[in-house]
């Protein structure tokens, strides 16, 4: 947005012309002879150890939109800090993927700009200009369909769409139609609005496939929620850990890792996945092209795709992208995978075209359906 900077610059420059030049900050201590910002793999640093040294020299990592209780990111961030002694500055845990990119824009050139992103697929596809390509050391372990060929963005984990419920108040729903019954009056809520939030979008997707439809047309899902609303069972409030704990939202559609995180915090909360079709969607790791700490950002990627962090995802209830390779190598945390069960059933994930079509349909129909 060249125009914006131009306008702003003129306005301020008139007031602070002299000090500007005197105070212009120079970036990066960069004692190493490697330009971390353009490195595309650990080899460019001269090996993983050299990467670790370069990252430690930077000392900090800015992450964004990583809540502690989302797929166990709290443990992952803490483990990274402890292992390498690099301070993790975790900003804006509650913002959406689109806002992550907006933050990269807003803070460009400042040292609080985000280094790495964890994005939904739609936003990742639309924002490749913001990313720097990088291939982690265990690149070969990641299936081809889960990564962009140069490493601009890579799938990191997925969950399946699940239903959490207050076991003290409502019975376990065994099929989608159960939720239309009298037991669930004023009980069902989503994690956000499907036209804005990935988790709610996925809930409509789940409803669609459970009603026998396909991901080409989300209408059956919209119709289900419309029916749910007419029955008085759907409440438009945003489901959060607080509303779950207070008993307000007795049934919540959310990613399995989110619902599972609530079971340890709130007594009486249980999670179930409906039999039949299982809806999944991967999130994506990406490195910012203008990262203020490029070496630390790349080290973070190495860490996230390594077995240690990938197992932590399992503990958090998410399915990591390298699970097939880990199972083969025997590095999977057996207890963790036993606790959440394998990803079985008829797994469906939307393609880009299906997502776009569904977004357009929801933008048109959703407000009227539940209004």
């Amino acid at each position: 947005m060249f125009r914006k900077r131009h306008l702003a610059g003129i306005a301020i420059f008139a007031a602070a012309a002299i000090t500007l030049s005197a105070c212009s900050s120079s970036e990066t201590p960069a004692a190493s002879d490697v330009d971390a910002a353009t490195a595309t793999s650990a080899e460019d640093f001269g090996g993983v150890d050299a990467l670790v040294e370069a990252a430690k020299a930077e000392g900090e990592l800015n992450v964004i939109a990583l809540p502690d209780n989302w797929a166990n990111y709290g443990e992952i961030k803490a483990a990274f800090e402890d292992k390498y002694g690099i301070t993790v500055n975790s900003a804006d845990p509650d913002i959406s993927s689109a806002e992550e990119i907006a933050a990269a824009d807003n803070l460009k050139g400042q040292d609080t700009a985000p280094d790495v992103f964890d994005l939904g697929t739609a936003v990742a596809l639309a924002s490749t200009d913001y990313f720097a390509p990088y291939q982690v050391a265990n690149w070969a372990e990641i299936p081809d369909e889960n990564k962009e060929s140069t490493g601009l963005y890579v799938n990191d984990y997925t969950g399946s769409m699940s239903i959490g419920y207050n076991s003290n108040e409502v019975p376990e729903p065994e099929s989608l139609d159960d939720l239309l019954g009298k037991d669930y009056t004023g009980a069902v809520a989503l994690n956000g609005d499907p036209t804005q939030a990935g988790a709610a979008f996925a809930a409509i997707g789940l409803a669609t496939v459970q009603q026998g439809g396909t991901l080409d047309d989300f209408q059956p899902g919209i119709d289900f929620f419309s029916e749910l609303n007419d029955a008085g069972n759907f409440i438009p409030v945003n489901a959060t850990p607080a509303t779950i704990a207070s008993g307000e939202t007795k049934v919540v559609f959310d990613w399995s890792y989110n619902n599972l995180a609530q079971t340890s915090v709130v007594d009486g909360w249980k999670v179930t996945t409906l039999p039949g079709a299982a809806y999944t969607s991967f999130y994506n790791q990406a490195i910012s092209k203008d990262a203020p700490h490029p070496a630390a950002a790349r080290l973070w990627q190495e860490f996230v795709f390594g077995a240690e962090a990938q197992n932590m995802f399992i503990v958090g209830g998410a399915y990591p992208v390298t699970i097939a390779a880990m199972n083969e190598a025997g590095t999977t945390d057996e207890d963790a995978i036993a606790a959440i069960g394998n990803l079985d059933g008829d797994i469906v994930t939307p393609t880009t075209e299906q997502s776009e079509a569904a977004s357009a349909l929801l933008a048109e129909k959703w407000a009227a359906a539940i209004g």
């Binding site: 807003n106 076991s167 003290n168 704990a245």
Partner: protein, 272 residues
Amino acid sequence: MTKNAVRIGTEPNPVVRWVILGVVGVVFAFPILAMIEFTFRDGLSGAHTLDHWTGLVSEDAARTYRNLFTAIGNSLLLAVVTVAIVLVVLLPTMILVHLQFPRLKRVLEFVCIIPITVPAIVLVVGLAPVYAVVVRVFGGSIWTLAFAYGITVLPYAYRAIQSNLDAVDVVTLSEAGRTLSADWGRVLWFVLLPNLKRGVLAASFISVAVVLGEFTIASLLNRVNLQTALLQVGQSDPYVAIIFALLALLLAFLLLLSIGRLGRPRRSGSGS
């Protein structure tokens, strides 16, 4: 309070006074009490427990407290600088306009209400490029955020001071002072400010409250203040989040009470 005052209308009937304050007080205390009750709940079972409160002093909390104390310090610093901006930039301008530029009054009022019209989430889109330059000039420290906060509190501070300005006959007072050979500095400090004390204090109160409660701008510019730190702290546990929100409210309340003590009239000499 005398029966005479009630009769002529300068004071309400004490019964009326306490009924109004009582009803409003109960209605407003109710949501806060509901939040407090929630923090004692033990999951969804309906029982109650002290665990959430006692957990605050456990060992894990140490790391989060470090961040929280930094954040409180940041917010207090921001509050001080914002109030300084209000007192040093806004107040003299308002007095000047009131005295010298009566036709600009509407313009000033409009300017001061714009910040509240544009939601913070949109304003940040425009603030970000400005701050890119500010950071280069002033550095990236937290106090520069006060420039944006000064704008955010403009509507509230303006209204509080203007209510007072309208009530006190500033024109006559300043003329009287000038006739008695005081220069503008003395008129401002010794004549006008004591009369505007209520409004200035109210403006400071609301500014401090706004700064302590502000979340969006700090969050979108990736700075750490009290509210963003509270969000981080509350991430893992909804009970802890509510407890800290309540404690933050209490902190703000006590802070404002103590500021209010500072502005107390000296002796019962100041009447009406």
